[in-house]
């Protein structure tokens, strides 16, 4: 599987995610600077976490206008798989590849903690190795992860099975108590309609090596490899 990680000024999870990708694919992904306007032939594009452009104006707003994102949009339209993690998720919503927007956390605080997620949609290249309804422990680290979309858009996201993950309590109960940031419908991650683009606030790269205490996310990268094979 050929993968690339897009690097913006202010990206800081790019190298972590590259390691996680390599662990599953067996080869290091290409690291692509945001000023590039063309991508080689790829199976997977990763838009990593961090603080692109210092989160100035709005998180991901400036990065979404960089030359590489026009190319990412073209590749996504062709069916190439794209995953945006945390700031990468914010960038994908700002480009319009995913619906909605990530707003300031309900409690106004940066949250760095483990959370529980309920797997909602397994029919995708990113989640095929999970079971529907399964509860997994993941990690979040963000200030703007409060997913918002208007009622009409939310209904569409729900009706088309675009919710990938929802925040929940350890016992799997989806509730306000299990929702760290105030996200609408407790949404932690969503797909586009074709499900070849995934955006999520939790960081799979943090949980993909047992040495880091947990490898719950390894299956996400393995799912992507399996989808290409």
């Amino acid at each position: 599987m050929k993968a690339a990680v897009i690097v913006f000024p202010g990206s800081n999870r790019d190298r972590d995610v590259a390691l996680a990708v390599e662990q599953s694919t067996g080869q290091p992904p290409a690291m692509i600077w945001h000023q590039e306007a063309k991508l080689p032939k790829l199976d997977l594009i990763v838009v990593p976490g961090g603080f692109s452009y210092g989160d100035y104006l709005r998180c991901g707003a400036m990065a979404s206008q960089s030359p590489i994102m026009a190319e990412v949009k073209r590749q996504a339209a062709k069916g190439v798989r794209v995953i945006g993690i945390c700031n990468g998720f914010q960038i994908l919503t700002e480009t319009g590849l995913l619906p909605g927007v990530l707003m300031r956390n309900r409690g106004l605080k940066f949250i760095c903690t483990d959370v529980h997620l309920k797997v909602e949609q397994t029919k995708s290249a990113f989640t095929s190795r999970y079971k529907k309804g399964e509860v997994i422990r993941f990690h979040i680290a963000h200030n703007e992860g409060n997913f918002y979309a208007d009622a009409k858009t939310l209904k569409q996201i729900e009706d088309k099975g675009q919710v990938a993950f929802r925040y929940c309590e350890a016992n799997g109960k989806v509730s306000n108590a299990g929702n760290p940031n105030g996200a609408k419908n407790h949404i932690a991650g969503i797909f586009n309609v074709k499900r070849n683009v995934l955006g999520l606030m939790p960081h799979p790269e943090v949980m993909s090596d047992p040495m880091l205490g947990c490898n719950n996310a390894r299956r996400m990268f393995d799912s992507m490899v399996e989808a290409v094979a």
Partner: protein, 80 residues
């Protein structure tokens, strides 16, 4: 020409910062305050002298970068 852009959250969109400011104002005794909403103010200088052109240009800037129209409204004022 100078353009002054006000970007505000749409009605109904939760504004936790505005809420926190409102709470602080109540704490200071400004009890008549309600519905505090926080936004952004951006100033721009433009080369053009054509007001119509300037407005159209700044509106385009708002739609592509300065505002996220899913959750924000914008208002453009021009000063000659």
């Amino acid at each position: 020409m100078k353009a002054k852009v006000h970007i505000t959250l749409k009605a109904g969109v939760l504004d936790p910062q505005g809420k926190a400011v409102e709470h602080a104002l109540h704490g200071l005794g400004f009890n008549s305050v309600s519905e505090v909403r926080q936004g952004k103010y951006i100033e721009l200088k433009l080369k053009t002298k054509d007001k119509k052109k300037a407005k159209a240009e700044v509106e385009k800037m708002c739609k592509t970068l300065l505002a996220n129209t899913i959750v924000e409204n914008f208002k453009v004022d021009l000063d000659e």
